[in-house]
């Protein structure tokens, strides 16, 4: 076990804390005793080679996979046994490695529907979903923030890949999460789109606790406040970027230097 690094400037209590999370698939231990803490105002990146257990870790934090052992806390409350929808309503949002949107629904409805999760009222059959003021206003703000204000009625599946990634983030934000778990948001993006996304992440960091899983090392070292390095399901280092860059174990195991 590696000790947690001292937190960044906003040394608040952690919003999301994982303690000794382990996930086994039969005989394979995909994630082994991983602990980490996410704080508001902090961008925490998790890096590691393919198969290091990063996605499994995100899936456990978001509630898609139950942990074999360990504990997850959200703002001090034990949420280990909570389902994904319940965690989402409590403020844990996530994006996926593969774009996960509603391709046949309009851009606006994609965001509005996510905002509806906060006020579901499924029994109110006489009310029109599109007239739902609460979700509409959230969606209208999110459209502007995502730069999609010109194409609200376009089917989301017709957007460019970069716009779809942007939309997915907006859909996450529409649920008004406190914690954002982002699984490779830059995957498949061009240079210009990546820059926009990184600027967005830095902006989001101020009001959210961010976990970023990303393969683009340049980007990670530019925006992360803390970096956790995983190898074969275990954390081998967790510290500020400057320390990680010169960490001997990391250089050997991950940055490919002997």
């Amino acid at each position: 076990m590696v000790e947690m690094a001292t937190p960044g400037p906003a040394a608040a209590a952690p919003l999301l804390r994982a303690q000794s999370l382990t996930r086994r698939f039969g005989g394979l231990t995909a994630v082994n005793a991983v602990s980490l803490a996410l704080r508001q105002g902090e961008l925490h990146a998790v890096i590691g080679t393919n198969g290091a257990g990063k996605s499994t870790l995100i899936n456990m934090l978001s509630g898609e996979l139950p942990a074999t052992s360990g504990r997850i806390e959200l703002a001090g409350a034990d949420i280990t046994g909570w389902s994904q929808p319940r965690r989402a309503r409590a403020g844990v949002g996530r994006s996926y490695q593969r774009t996960t949107i509603f391709p046949k629904l309009s851009v606006f409805e994609n965001i509005r529907l996510c905002a509806q999760a906060a006020r579901q009222r499924p029994w109110a059959l006489w009310q029109v979903a599109e007239h739902c003021g609460a979700s509409r206003s959230v969606a209208e703000r999110a459209l502007v923030a995502a730069g999609l204000v010109d194409v609200p009625q376009l089917a989301a599946g017709l957007l460019s890949h970069g716009q779809q990634r942007q939309l997915e983030i907006s859909m996450c934000l529409a649920t008004q999460p406190r914690v954002l778990l982002l699984d490779e948001p830059l995957a498949g993006m061009g240079a210009e789109e990546s820059e926009l996304m990184l600027a967005l992440l830095l902006d989001l960091k101020r009001s959210h606790a961010l976990l970023l899983v990303e393969h683009d090392m340049d980007a990670v070292f530019r925006v992360a406040d803390l970096i956790t390095v995983m190898v074969n399901g275990e954390v081998i280092a967790s510290d500020v970027p400057k320390v990680i860059r010169s960490h001997p174990d990391v250089r050997v195991a991950y940055l490919g230097e002997g």
């Binding site: 996926y96 996960t100 949107i101 509603f102 059959l125 649920t175």
Partner: protein, 326 residues
């Protein structure tokens, strides 16, 4: 917004249907009643397949249960009261749908199809092979239900005209209910589950509960159709629950166009009329004995040339919510 006037066409159709008995012969009036009942059945499946993305191949079980309860619960005495017989039939179908949904909704895709098929075959054999259902010949309804109140008989389903308007009212109710669901938050959540269930869960929707609710409502409406079918025919038999029937209702919504309420109704009309036509010895002679073959080829042709169903001929695309580009 094109969606604001969508009630005009169905309302006009309902009005036309209400005036139709004036010009119908008894045979054609029976045919219209039969088509309307199948339209209710097709609409109930559209809630699952088109609105939620759950392809069930066991939907006839709920039709059959509604029908059998209508006959069994009326007994052999006088006419039963609609007031309790109709709710009993609908609730029995809903209860079985709750049970089947509880288990089958834990599976997905082709497994869901197989599990729903298995549960409907189970129900089929209960009615086919036990004393409950009277075997393969089925059972007769001795007296059709009535609605009597304050000394008068207000509705007597033995009366052809009363039955006609009762079925029309049930169809209008079903269509209106599904149209309401479609535009409500519930319906939009179902559309989201259809589009991407993973994202719905990540947003905070407990999707299992939504799907179960849709499954139970669909089962209840199929039970309503079954009740009406039993009353219309005055008899039930196990074939009502067979997978042929489940397949036929699936074909109806495919023919009409999945994803549209009107499509489901148009599909029920087309399928029933085609079947009547191909079964008619008066029109087709010896070929009528092979109606399954001719109907099959016709359906293949429809699917090949109209992949979006008959509703696709309308060509506006406005019925496909949210997919409009401007």
């Amino acid at each position: 917004m094109a969606t604001e006037h969508t009630w005009i066409v169905p309302a006009t159709a309902a009005l036309a249907l209400a005036l139709l008995p004036a010009v119908l012969t008894p045979y054609t009036q029976d045919l219209v009643v039969k088509i309307e009942i199948y339209a209710i059945f097709a609409l109930s499946l559209e809630l699952l397949v088109g609105m939620t993305g759950l392809v069930s191949l066991g939907h006839a079980a709920f039709l059959g249960i509604g029908a059998y309860v209508a006959v069994r619960a009326s007994g052999e005495g006088g006419a039963a009261s609609l007031l309790w017989l109709l709710p009993a039939a609908v609730l029995a179908a809903a209860a079985y749908a709750f049970f089947v949904g509880l288990l089958s909704l834990r599976t997905q895709g082709v497994y869901f199809i197989m599990v729903t098929l298995a549960f409907s075959q189970m129900a089929y054999f209960v009615f086919h092979d036990t004393a409950v259902g009277g075997g393969s010949d089925g059972i007769f309804l001795y007296a059709k239900p009535v609605l009597a109140w304050a000394g008068g008989t207000w509705v007597d389903l033995d009366d052809r005209r009363h039955l006609y308007y009762a079925v029309l009212a049930a169809l209008a109710f079903t269509y209106a209910l599904l149209a309401l669901i479609r535009r409500s938050r519930f319906g939009h959540a179902l559309a989201g589950i259809h589009g991407n269930e993973q994202r719905m869960r990540a947003a905070g929707f407990a999707t299992y509960g939504y799907k179960l609710a849709a499954f139970v409502i669909a089962g209840a409406l199929a039970g309503l159709a079954g009740f009406l079918l039993a009353v219309k025919d005055g008899a039930v038999n196990p074939e009502l629950l067979s997978w042929h029937e489940s397949g036929a209702v699936l074909l109806m919504i495919i023919l009409g166009g999945i994803g549209s309420l009107r499509g489901a109704v148009i599909g029920a009309v087309t399928f029933t009329l085609l079947k009547e036509f191909y079964q008619s010895e008066a029109l087709l002679g010896a070929l009528a004995a092979h109606w399954q073959l001719t109907l099959g080829f016709t359906i293949i042709a429809f699917v090949a040339w109209l992949p979006k169903g008959l509703i696709g001929l309308a060509g506006t695309g406005a019925w496909r919510r949210g997919a409009r580009s401007g």
